[in-house]
């Protein structure tokens, strides 16, 4: 028998790992996210007592699922409100009756993909999609999610309740969209995963440990989605992209938060296993010949990862990939990055011609990366006065101290 502290840790680990799978199976049979969460939470509390007394069951996940189902049946018998929500519990009672031995985790119906499409429904706002995905599929607690967003736990709890209510009342289905709708909705799911990753990767706020956990969680969720949707190469494209960013985590920032630009990073400290895994994954994905924005971004990132020194970077290929990316995603951010690649592959003057095509776009004046990139290109083209002007603008609009500091250093080196 485990000592209580160790037992609690074990339970927490099991709950964290199996939460999404168990919750999605319960949602599929109960049809209601809040109820599923409540009975699963009840089951976890029962486990704390029972496992302490009787030791760990053979299959803790199946044990939790069975207890949660029984809790649902109990509620059904007690509660008329519940009875209306779940009009038919024949399925549940049959499961209960057939419960001879524990099922293995693999036998639990895997409904996580259905659930992630529900949590990332475009009818929910961005932040709620992220929070709900972390809560239901990541198994993070409300307090943990609140900490990630620097929100009060009460505020985050309210947000989650409101989102679950909207799903129930507005009739958002628990299903994987099919056909054309999948093409519309998959990018929303992938965007949510990428936002979770970036929340953990960008240096805007919060403690490093929490950020690390968020990035890891995003990678875990992308792996899960890739496993459940093997026919969609963009999922693996996103996964490879995250792994490549993550391989540079140790070198992209100094202890005091200062951002280190790619050219100054210590490449020997990049995580080779991460890079190798990402490159292998990307190669097999690109073979499917259904290229998309995430695969292209991953390919660009892989070219950086494979260059032993900044000087070895294959800028020609990178510029060509940005060209392709721009044809799929004609946005200012892609244009800016394309110009930077051209400035190295060809010349700063050629790059200016590309980046200046953005000058007519409304609101470009307030787009910080435009000024930062333009400042760098101008300075390398020898146009120092204009470069200084662009640096000043980029510095005024910098999103965080680390970036501001980096830009000031560069301006002062002019």
């Amino acid at each position: 028998m485990l000592p209580p502290f160790q037992l609690e840790q074990t339970i927490n680990r099991i709950v964290r790992e199996e939460w999404g799978r168990l919750l999605s199976a319960l949602v599929a049979s109960l049809g209601d996210l809040q109820l599923a969460e409540d009975v699963l939470q009840d089951a976890v509390e029962t486990a704390l007592v029972d496992w302490n007394r009787n030791g760990l069951p053979r299959s803790p996940a199946s044990w939790l699922l069975q207890v949660a189902r029984r809790k649902a049946i109990d509620r059904f018998r007690r509660d008329t409100h519940f009875r209306r929500l779940v009009p038919d519990i024949t399925y549940l009672t049959e499961l209960e009756r057939s419960d001879d031995g524990p099922e293995t985790v693999e036998e639990i119906p895997d409904k996580r993909l259905e659930l992630i499409f529900t949590c990332c429904h475009p009818a929910l706002d961005d932040k709620s999609r992220i929070a709900l995905t972390l809560r239901t599929l990541g198994g993070l607690t409300t307090e943990e999610i609140a900490r990630c967003f620097l929100d009060r736990p009460g505020t985050m709890a309210q947000r989650l309740v409101r989102a679950k209510q909207k799903i129930a009342l507005a009739g958002i289905a628990y299903e994987v969209p099919s056909g054309e709708r999948l093409n519309e909705r998959l990018p929303v799911v992938l965007a949510v995963l990428y936002l979770i990753f970036n929340e953990g990767y960008s240096a805007t706020s919060g403690k490093e440990a929490i950020r690390r956990e968020l990035s890891d969680e995003a990678i875990r969720l992308a792996r899960m989605t890739a496993y459940l949707l093997p026919a969609e190469p963009e999922v693996n494209g996103l996964l490879a992209l995250m792994l490549l960013h993550d391989s540079r985590r140790a070198t992209r920032q100094l202890g005091d938060g200062t951002l280190v630009p790619l050219e100054a990073q210590n490449r020997s400290a990049w995580s080779r296993p991460r890079i190798d895994a990402a490159v292998a994954l990307l190669k097999s994905t690109l073979r499917q010949q259904r290229v998309g924005p995430y695969q292209l971004q991953a390919a660009i990132s892989a070219l950086h990862a494979e260059a032993r020194h900044w000087e070895d970077t294959d800028w020609r290929q990178i510029a060509a990939l940005y060209d392709l990316l721009y044809s799929l995603q004609p946005t200012p951010v892609v244009r800016v990055n394309q110009a930077v690649a051209i400035s190295h592959a060809d010349s700063p003057v050629a790059a200016l011609n590309v980046i200046d095509t953005l000058a007519d776009i409304p609101k470009i004046e307030s787009y910080q990366p435009y000024h930062a990139a333009r400042a760098d290109i101008l300075s390398r083209a020898g146009r120092r006065a204009e470069a200084r002007e662009s640096y000043d603008r980029a510095i005024d609009m910098a999103g965080n101290e680390a970036e501001r500091h980096l830009l000031i250093t560069r301006r002062d080196e002019l």
């Binding site: 209306r84 429904h121 009818a123 009342l169 507005a170 009739g171 958002i172 289905a173 969209p177 709708r181």
Partner: protein, 117 residues
């Protein structure tokens, strides 16, 4: 489930009665209405007279107060609605997007409350 699709648009935007594109616009509405009728989804639907005809009534102060005009003075006004029977929100959104006025306005989709007995 029933969903109310509220059609909001600025009254001076889009095809206007008497304009050259108005007949095609009306035809598009007929086609849409026919589709939801044939699929047995239409509960009801109507176009509203212009917002200049609106009158707002309230008893908030204890007595009936009547004012000329709509409840909210916004550029986009409620111009009509469809009440549709749909499988789920996704289906409601597909049909809401097909409403011809979605091209120059917005459709707010609201689920209808099912009262407990």
């Amino acid at each position: 489930m029933q969903y109310l699709c509220l059609i909001y648009h600025a009254e001076d935007v889009g095809p206007q009665p008497g304009g050259p594109d108005f007949p095609a616009f009306m035809q598009a509405y007929q086609t849409f209405t026919q589709e939801v009728v044939e699929k047995d989804m239409l509960v009801s639907g109507n176009a509203l007279q212009p917002v200049a005809t609106a009158t707002t009534v309230s008893r908030e102060t204890g007595k009936v107060e009547i004012t000329d005009g709509p409840f909210a003075e916004t550029k986009e006004q409620l111009g009509g609605y469809y009440l549709l029977e749909c499988k789920d929100l996704d289906e409601a959104l597909v049909y809401a997007a097909k409403i011809p006025s979605a091209e120059h306005g917005r459709i707010e989709v609201r689920p209808v409350v099912v009262w407990d007995d």
